[in-house]
Structures are given as structure tokens and as C-alpha cells.
Symmetry: C2
Subunit: 415 residues, 2 copies
């Protein structure tokens, strides 16, 4: 038997016991985990130092090293995150629907845990803690595979989690870390059908693509966001500028930031210079379609591939369009079904856009940066789904559960 | 460009127009399709005859030929099925939840179509019509891949569907049949990420396994059912016998039929002879564990593999267990998460079983044969899911939809 399979099987056995745990028991173990994390601060930071030194020696970029680095403040953030998950209502056991059939059968649709959830993620060690806490509260075991670069940090963090579990009635195998460095461990993990119920990849496009290509276990695709804002001719331009700036500049490296701006041709001549200046002042490189470049000649030319690119950087592509219908078409062609918005005071235009754009979240008069579990009020987030199966958009506790039907009879047989 | 990809792309374009269609428009086209099917009876039956002759010449088994065969009665059943789907409420546009955030953003969770749904299925031509009608009403285009053995029948049926569509405002490309005989067409279909939103395989375990192995498009796994009934020591045995007989004998070749019977040791000595006799009288071959064979020596020995087998035949394996906990453990080890039942008058035992057994549908005092979209009151069924992602158990119209969030603001930006 392989180690990966053994870890998964023990997680599956633990998941059955976790599924029967009360909300009180789950909250109790989350509190124990929070305390362990806090008490083991020195141990976790020392382990992280090893990863940082290895990463620096291997020539890892400053940006990646920053993602990897822990400090007391970040650790405190993780601990606070665990306590936030404690405060969320337990999703398990909720009766979603009940109905009676003419033959007297009473059918209840009840929310149940997913079972065992696999997480495959990159350098951020906080995902280890966030995902474990969310899975635990949602009644599922977690099989974790972090980046090899964060191996020592993840070992230390999972050590804390397991100590918390060991002090509770919930088995320590509820959270399992696959800490073999070989990439073949991931291949094996992705074929654990019948043991693993779901895999969620979190990371760059390459990681997500690899998981989708190779997994026979059901996957929820997360993350890639080529998002747009469309500014209509009937937009309130005083509102529009702060929304565009926020959607582009509030944070560059994240999936709900816009990469392209679509502007109605009627307002382009007067408003494009304003928005371009505001973006350039903030250090954003602006690329434009030919019409945009006629109006603001100093911007670069946007290439065909720019429309399809998630820059994750201070770069924006601007296209002048004939109206809401062309905006919808452009987004259908280049968007990634993540977050798309229209800025307009015309409700018919807004309605058309909201209905016709096929994305997880569609916005009317708001920044796309709100696509986030916390901003939605879910209290936590395990990722943002860009597929249409199971969960779409920000995924909180409910989005990582399943349901089953409980049928109550008194001897019914099928005629 | 390949033909499979072209078909899928045209289906995707059609799906966008279908998504905007009213309930009235969808019902209208379903009625046109029903009429076309009825009027083209001779053409469809003639095409089916070609398939039947080819099948017979190729040495197809009588059972498979029967599955493939159409006649006026079966065709009438399909037409009635289309009209049943018409009568179902339109699931699209339903507002599932609405809430307001402290910053004033109003978030609506709205049910939307899945997009393009791929169906891969075996010899039954009725799936062509059933799946098309269900997808259409649920607002999704259907990309169909039936068995090569049913090619002429499926061409004729899709011809009728397309004539119905052509007479309506919904594009004929809404339903596309992949009618290239090469198996590579399926491989290609299973990698149409970004065009196809979901693939549902319907057929035997081999087909389902192949789809799971090869698909990079999200899949809903259907069908394999190694189902159990557990008869507790506190069962009402007058009720138990008809339920066991119904769950095993009402139909042999289907997924919600039981393959194993678990009997509490306290009632085994007196009741096992009764149930075995009733099963044998109906032509069922009974295999048993050593304890069962001590009580009823004439039954065969059940092998280890029998506990894990979906016989789909008049064969049953019987095991004597110590109580509800051993029943739950046995089902956890051998079940396929489909349909599992307990027969008891003890509500604590029933509760334990319903909560601890991990299956799509768990029954208390009812036959497992009710796991079916019609029996659940869904009015139709596109398959029975045995996975936990997205939909579990019988899938009707709602189970083949997705949702999106519509966020209404007045200029909100993220702080």
C-alpha cells in the first residue's frame, strides 16, 4: 500500500467519526487548534525559517519568498481565522427541503458533509490552516498537499492541528498532510476515487490546469479571472471613476481584479482621457484598441492576446464598444466566467448585462473586488469557483457540503 | 477544426440564445418536437429497423436488441415523456436567496442554465429524446453521443427534434448529435473544457469508468448501485417480507435493486427460512454467509466478491449481522453510496442507520426501488448520481442547472 493511499484511507475513516460530531465538539477542537497554533509560535516560525532559507538558496523570487514567509502577525491572522470559522453556524444537518409523496413516503433533503476533501495548493502556508478549519467545521476530513517549498512550515502547522485534534474526541487523522516531496504523490492523490470526494486546487493557472487534466476525482476549478467592467453611456461618471480605479488598483495580483475596461463609444471622447490619466497616475500601464488610441494617443496598442490575458499586474486593456450588446459579446469571447460588471444608471441595460453575461458573479454599479467569501458574508472562503458544477463564485462552508435524501416510510413498495 | 468541436461550439452559441428563452417559448418548442416525433413515426421505426438488422447481423444479444428496439408503443412513451417535461415548472430564473450586506450591496443568488450538457449513453434510443427534452427545459444545449448501434435511430430522432426547433425561435443547434462512429469522437468530447460545462454518462460500469478516467470536463457519475436492506431485530416482519421481495424482485437489471440482504442475528433463525423460500419461489439464487447457511443449509456460499457485486440479476447475498452497527459497517465497506435501507420499528436504530450510512438515499421502512426521479416527484430524470459533488441521487430539472450571483450596488468600492 502506498503512503498517499494510506493517509487518504485513514482520513476517510476519521471523516465518518467527524460526520457524527456535534457543533459543540467541532468548535471545541477548533479552539484547541487555535491555542496550539498560538503556543507553538516559535516552533512554526523556526520551521518557516528553514523553508525561507531553502527557498532563498534555490533562488526563489522575493515575491514568492514573501508569500511563503510567516511572522507573528501572520500567525495571529491564522489563529483569528480559525476563531472566525468557529463563530460560523454549523452547516451540517440542515433540512433543506421536506415533502410527502402521494404514497405516504416523506422525503427529507438533508445537508451532509462532503467526506474527504483534497486540497492542492502553492506557497502560502496559511491555506494549510484555513482549509483545515473550514473542512473540519463542514464535517469533512482534509487531505492536504502544499507546495514542496513550504514543507517544513506545513509540517509544523499540521503538527499543531493534530495536537489540537488529539486532545479532542475527533480523530487526529481528520487532517492529513501529504509530505512526500515527489510529484508522483499528487498524481496518486488525483486518482483516489472512492476515497476522496472532491479536490480543490488553489494556485496559478498551471497548477489548476494540471489538476483538471489529471484528476479522476471530481474537481472544483478555482481562480482564473479575466474580469471586465463595462462603463455604459448612461453611467454616472462621478461614480464610475472610483469603481474602475478600485476594481483595477486596489490589489493587482488577485483574480477578481479587472484586466480590461470596456467603454461606451458615446462617452469615450470625453471620459477616456480622464480614466486613463487616473490609471497612469497610479502606475498602471494602459493598452487600448484603435478607437481608444485615437482619443488618447499616448497609450500602447492592445494586442489580440491582451484581451484574453489575466495580467495580475498593473496593466489594463481598454476597448471602446458600441453598447451593452457588444460588451456582452466581448466578455463571452474573452471572459473566464469569474466576475463581470456594468456601470450604468439605465436599468434595462443593467438587466441585459446581468442576465446575458455568463459569470459566477455579475455586478451592477459595484467594484468586481467584492467577489470574496468574506465580502459576501460567508465568514470564510476556501476558494472561488469558476465552473458551473456544484458551486459557483466564493465558496464558504455550505459550498463544501453535500446532501442526502432520508426517506421515511411505513412499508411502501413500488408497484 | 474538428467536427466534434464545431458541433459543440454551435451548441454553445445556441445555448446563449436558449438561456434567454421564456418558459412559454420552451414549452412551445417541446410541443413541436412531440408532434414531429409522432408524425415521423414511420421514418423513425424504419431507421430503427436498420439498427436492429445491423445489430442482429453483428450477433447482438436478444437483451441488447430489445433495449434498442422501438415500436409504436415505445415511441408513444417518448412523446408522452416530452409532454411531461413541458408540464414541469421552469427552473430557470428562480431567486434562491437574497441578502443585503452592511455596505448596501444586495446579493441575489439566481438559478441559471448549466450551458452545454454532454450526454454519453448506450443502446436505448429513448435517452436521446428524454435528455434533449430535459436539457431544453432546463435552458441548456445538449451534445449527444449515443451508442454506435443506435446510430440510425438517433439520427432519425434528432432529425425530428431539429425540425421542431427549426419551426421555433430556439436555434436547431440546441440539440447536436455526434454521429461519427469513431470512438475518438468521445475522447475529443471529453476534453471540450470551456465549451462543455458538464458530461453525464449513462450506461454500464465500463462506460462510466471510461468517462471518469478520460474526462477533463466536470462529470456527474451515475448508476452503479450495490444496494442493501437491513432487517433489524425490531422489524415488523409482516411488512419486511414484501419490502425485501419488492426491493429484489420488482426489476432485476436496475441500479436501485438490492444485491445484498443483511439480517439481524436475533431474527435470523426463524425469519431467514421464510425470506429464502419467498426469494427462491421467485427464481432468485440465494447465497449466504456461514451463519445464514447454518440456518438454511440449501443456499450457496457467498464469496467475498459477492458482497461487492452489483449482480443486476436474480441473485442475492445474505449476511447475518449483530445489529445496526455491523450493518452500517458492512455497507460502508461494500456499498456504492446509492440506496440503502433499514427495516425496523425502533426509531433510535432507524436514526443511527439514516445518519451513519453514506448514500444518496437512505430509507426507513421502504423499498429501495423508490430512488427514481418520477417516484421522488421530480417529474423526470436524467440519471441517478452516485457522487457527492453537485447533485446526489435522482436528478431532475433543477439538478442540471447552475446559479449565479447578481450583485446590485450604487457605487460601492472595496476598502
Amino acid at each position: 500500500m502506498s503512503m498517499v493511499r494510506d493517509l487518504a484511507l485513514s482520513a476517510k475513516a476519521a471523516a465518518r467519526r467527524l460526520a457524527a460530531a456535534t457543533e459543540q465538539a467541532k468548535n471545541h477542537v477548533l479552539e484547541l487548534i487555535a491555542q496550539e497554533l498560538w503556543q507553538a509560535q516559535d516552533e512554526v516560525l523556526a520551521a518557516n525559517q528553514v523553508d525561507i532559507q531553502n527557498g532563498a538558496a534555490a533562488g526563489m523570487s522575493p515575491a514568492l519568498l514573501d508569500r511563503l514567509a510567516l511572522n507573528p502577525e501572520r500567525l495571529q491572522g491564522m489563529v483569528a481565522g480559525v476563531r472566525q470559522v468557529m463563530a460560523l453556524p454549523d452547516p451540517i444537518g440542515e433540512v433543506l427541503e421536506t415533502w410527502q409523496r402521494p404514497n405516504g413516503l416523506v422525503i427529507e433533503k438533508v445537508r451532509v458533509p462532503m467526506g474527504v476533501i483534497g486540497m492542492i495548493y502553492e506557497g502560502r502556508p496559511n491555506v494549510t490552516v484555513d482549509a483545515s478549519a473550514l473542512c473540519l467545521k463542514a464535517g469533512s476530513a482534509a487531505l492536504l498537499r502544499g507546495s514542496a517549498s513550504a514543507l517544513e512550515s506545513n509540517r509544523a502547522l499540521v503538527g499543531c492541528i493534530k495536537r489540537g485534534l488529539a486532545a479532542s474526541e475527533i480523530p487526529p487523522e481528520t487532517v492529513q498532510l501529504i509530505d512526500i516531496p515527489e510529484r508522483s504523490a499528487v498524481d496518486e492523490m488525483l486518482r483516489l476515487n472512492g476515497i476522496l470526494d472532491l479536490v480543490i486546487p488553489r494556485g496559478g493557472a498551471g497548477l489548476i490546469q494540471r489538476v483538471i487534466e489529471q484528476s479522476t476525482v471530481p474537481v472544483i476549478e478555482t481562480g482564473v479571472g479575466n474580469c471586465h467592467l463595462f462603463v455604459d453611456d448612461q453611467a454616472d461618471l462621478k461614480k464610475a471613476l472610483p469603481m474602475v480605479i478600485n476594481a483595477k488598483c486596489q490589489r493587482y495580483g488577485v483574480c477578481n481584479t479587472i484586466e480590461s475596461l470596456l467603454v461606451h463609444k458615446a462617452i469615450a471622447p470625453t471620459w477616456l482621457p480622464v480614466v486613463v490619466q487616473a490609471l497612469v497616475e497610479r502606475g498602471v500601464e494602459v493598452r487600448g484598441c484603435p478607437v481608444a488610441r485615437e482619443i488618447v494617443p499616448e497609450i500602447k496598442e492592445a494586442t489580440e492576446s491582451d484581451w484574453a490575458t489575466e495580467f495580475l499586474a498593473p496593466i489594463i486593456a481598454i476597448k471602446v464598444v458600441n453598447g451593452v450588446q457588444e460588451a456582452v459579446e466581448h466578455i463571452a469571447q474573452y471572459g473566464t466566467n469569474h466576475s463581470e460588471g456594468i456601470i450604468t444608471e439605465n436599468h434595462a441595460h443593467a438587466r441585459t448585462f446581468l442576465e446575458q453575461v455568463d459569470a459566477a458573479v455579475v455586478y451592477h454599479n459595484a467594484s468586481t473586488r467584492f467577489t470574496d467569501g468574506f465580502e459576501f458574508g460567508f465568514g470564510a472562503e476556501i476558494g472561488i469557483s469558476t465552473q458551473k458544477l456544484h458551486a459557483r463564485g466564493p465558496m464558504g462552508l455550505r459550498e463544501i457540503t453535500s446532501y442526502k435524501y432520508m426517506v421515511h416510510g411505513n412499508g411502501q413498495v413500488r408497484p
